[in-house]
C-alpha cells in the first residue's frame, strides 16, 4: 500500500500506456473482424476457413508472437508497435467467430423485412444486422477486452513498458508491494475495460430492457 502511494505518478503513466496497448488493438481488431465475419456469414463456404484460420493464430503463445513480430513487420524488438499488432491479431482471432455468431443471431424475418423495404446489403448490415448483433458481439468483446489487458502485461518481458513492468521490476528487485500493486492495477484495469464494453453496449441498444 505504501509502495503504491509513493509511486502514484509512475502507476498513472504505466496505466495509460497499458490502456493504449490493450485498447487500440481491441478497436482495430473489431474493425478487422466485422468485415471478415460478414464475408464468412454471407459466403458460408468461407466460414470454416476463416474461423479455423484465425483460431490457429490464437494458438501462438503471446511471448513467441511478440518476439516474432519484428520478423514480419521489420520493426525493432523494443518497438511497442509489435505489441499492438500482436494484440490485434489475438483480438481478430477471438472476434471473427463472435461476429459470425452475432450475425447469425439476427432473425431471418427481420432481415427479410429490411430487404423488402428496399435496404441494400450494406445499409442492411449497418442499420439492421449489426445493431441486432450487438449483444452477442459485446459478449465476445468483453472476453477479448479482459484477455487483452491480461496478455499485454507479458510485453514487459521484452521491455515494452506498461503495468506489467511493475510485475517484472517487483520480482527482479523482490519488492512485494510493487508486485502486488501491479497485479491489483491490472485487475482493476480489466474491470474498467469490462464495464466500458458493457456500458457502451447498453447505450447502443436502448430498446433492450435494462
Amino acid at each position: 500500500m505504501t509502495w503504491a502511494l509513493d509511486h502514484l505518478g509512475v502507476i498513472a503513466s504505466l496505466t495509460w500506456r497499458h490502456t493504449l496497448l490493450a485498447g487500440i488493438p481491441l478497436l482495430l481488431g473489431l474493425l478487422v473482424a466485422i468485415p471478415l465475419g460478414w464475408v464468412a456469414h454471407r459466403v458460408p463456404a468461407l466460414a470454416p476457413v476463416t474461423i479455423v484460420g484465425t483460431g490457429l493464430l490464437y494458438t501462438i503463445p503471446s511471448l513467441a508472437l511478440f518476439i516474432l513480430m519484428p520478423l514480419v513487420l521489420g520493426t525493432r524488438i523494443l518497438d511497442p508497435i509489435n505489441v499492438v499488432v500482436a494484440m490485434t491479431v489475438y483480438t481478430v482471432a477471438l472476434l471473427v467467430r463472435t461476429v459470425v455468431d452475432g450475425l447469425r443471431s439476427v432473425p431471418a424475418d427481420v432481415d427479410a423485412a429490411a430487404t423488402a423495404m428496399g435496404f441494400g446489403r450494406f445499409r442492411r448490415l449497418w442499420q439492421v444486422q449489426l445493431p441486432l448483433a450487438i449483444p452477442v458481439i459485446a459478449a465476445g468483446l468483453r472476453v477479448a477486452a479482459v484477455s487483452n489487458v491480461s496478455i499485454v502485461s507479458i510485453a514487459s518481458l521484452i521491455g515494452v513498458a506498461q503495468l506489467g513492468s511493475l510485475l517484472t521490476d517487483g520480482y527482479n528487485r523482490a519488492i512485494a508491494g510493487e508486485l502486488l500493486t501491479g497485479i491489483v492495477a491490472a485487475l482493476l484495469l480489466a474491470l474498467v475495460f469490462d464495464l466500458v464494453v458493457v456500458g457502451t453496449a447498453r447505450l447502443l441498444t436502448p430498446w433492450r430492457s435494462p
Binding site: 470454416p48 474461423i51 479455423v52 483460431g55 490457429l56 490464437y58 494458438t59 501462438i60 503463445p61 503471446s62 511471448l63 513467441a64 508472437l65 518476439i67 516474432l68 519484428p70 520478423l71 524488438i77 477471438l94 467467430r97 463472435t98 459478449a139 465476445g140 472476453v143 479482459v146 484477455s147 489487458v149 491480461s150 496478455i151 502485461s153 507479458i154 514487459s156 518481458l157 521484452i158 503495468l163 506489467g164 510485475l167 517484472t168 517487483g170 520480482y171 523482490a174 512485494a176 508486485l179 502486488l180 501491479g182 497485479i183 491490472a186 485487475l187 480489466a190 474491470l191
Partner: protein
C-alpha cells in the same frame, strides 16, 4: 534476419546435448504433461460432481473470475513467496508447476461442468426411469455425453500450459522458453526467434492433437446421421434425425468460453 533464425534452427549442434533443442522440447512436454495430469485429477471430478449435483456452481464462477489475474503476476508472486522455502533445483520448478496447475484448472473445470450441465434433462430422466442410480447416470450417460466439451476444456488448458510454461522460463523453469528468455537477455535475436518458432509449432501441434481427440470424444450416437455408422440390425437404424440432443462440437468450439486468459 530470417536467414539467421533458419540457420540457428537447422544447425544440428543446436539440437544435441543438455541445453539442446531436443532436451528442451522434452522438458517442455514433460512439464506440460505432469501439469495437465495433476490439474485434470483435481478439476474433472469437481466439474463432473458440480454439473451432476447442480451444487458448487460458485466454484466455476470463482475459477473464471480468477483468470483475469495476469499470469506473470501470479507466476512472479508465487516464486517470490515459495522460492525461499524450497531448496535446490526444486526452487525453480515447484512454484512454476504450482502456478501452471492453478492456470490449467479453470478451463478443465468449466469444460467438465458445462458438458454435464448441457445434457438434456429428458435423457437424464429416461436413464433414471430405466432404474439407473445417481452414480450410474453420471458414469453411463452424463460422462459420455459430456466428453466433447470436457475434452474442449482440456484443449484450452493444454494451450494455456504450453504458453505459460514458456513464460515460466523467466523464473527459472527449463523447456523451450529458455531460448526466448536467454536469447533476450544476451541480445541474440536468432536464438529467441528460433525458440519462438519452436514454441509456436509445439502449441499448434498440441492444439491439432487435442482437436482430433475432441472429435473422437463425440459419442457415435451424437454424430449427425451422415457421419453415424449404420447398424442394419437395429430396428431404428435409418436416416432419422437425432432428437434435439445433438451436441456436434466443431473444431474450436468453446474458444471464447474456456480459453482466454492464458499466458
Amino acid at each position: 534476419m530470417i536467414a539467421s533464425v533458419w540457420s540457428w534452427l537447422t544447425d544440428p549442434a543446436n539440437w544435441r546435448g543438455a541445453g539442446g533443442i531436443s532436451s528442451r522440447l522434452g522438458e517442455h512436454l514433460g512439464y506440460s504433461a505432469v501439469v495437465i495430469l495433476i490439474a485434470a485429477a483435481i478439476a474433472i471430478p469437481l466439474g463432473l460432481w458440480s454439473g451432476h449435483s447442480g451444487r458448487g456452481r460458485w466454484l466455476i464462477s470463482a475459477a473464471n473470475a480468477a483468470r483475469a489475474v495476469p499470469t506473470i503476476g501470479l507466476l512472479f508472486a508465487t516464486s517470490l513467496w515459495l522460492g525461499p522455502h524450497v531448496t535446490g533445483d526444486l526452487a525453480f520448478t515447484v512454484p512454476s508447476i504450482l502456478v501452471l496447475v492453478l492456470l490449467a484448472i479453470p478451463p478443465i473445470l468449466a469444460g467438465a461442468y458445462a458438458g454435464v450441465e448441457a445434457v438434456d434433462p429428458a435423457v437424464r430422466d429416461a436413464a433414471r426411469g430405466m432404474g439407473l442410480t445417481g452414480p450410474q447416470v453420471l458414469r453411463k450417460v452424463e460422462v459420455p455425453l459430456a466428453l466433447p466439451l470436457l475434452v474442449s476444456g482440456l484443449r484450452s488448458a493444454v494451450l494455456q500450459v504450453v504458453a505459460t510454461a514458456t513464460i515460466a522460463a523467466y523464473v527459472g523453469l527449463g523447456g523451450l522458453g529458455r531460448y526466448l528468455i536467454d536469447g533476450l537477455a544476451s541480445g541474440r535475436y536468432a536464438v529467441m526467434a528460433g525458440g519462438a518458432v519452436l514454441v509456436s509449432g509445439l502449441a499448434l501441434v498440441a492444439d491439432l492433437v487435442m482437436a482430433a481427440l475432441q472429435r473422437l470424444a463425440a459419442s457415435p450416437g451424437l454424430l449427425p446421421p451422415g457421419r453415424r455408422k449404420r447398424r442394419s440390425d437395429r430396428p431404428d437404424a435409418g436416416p432419422d434425425p437425432p432428437h434435439g440432443t445433438t451436441v456436434d462440437v466443431p473444431a474450436g468450439q468453446d474458444r471464447e468460453g474456456s480459453r482466454t486468459h492464458r499466458r
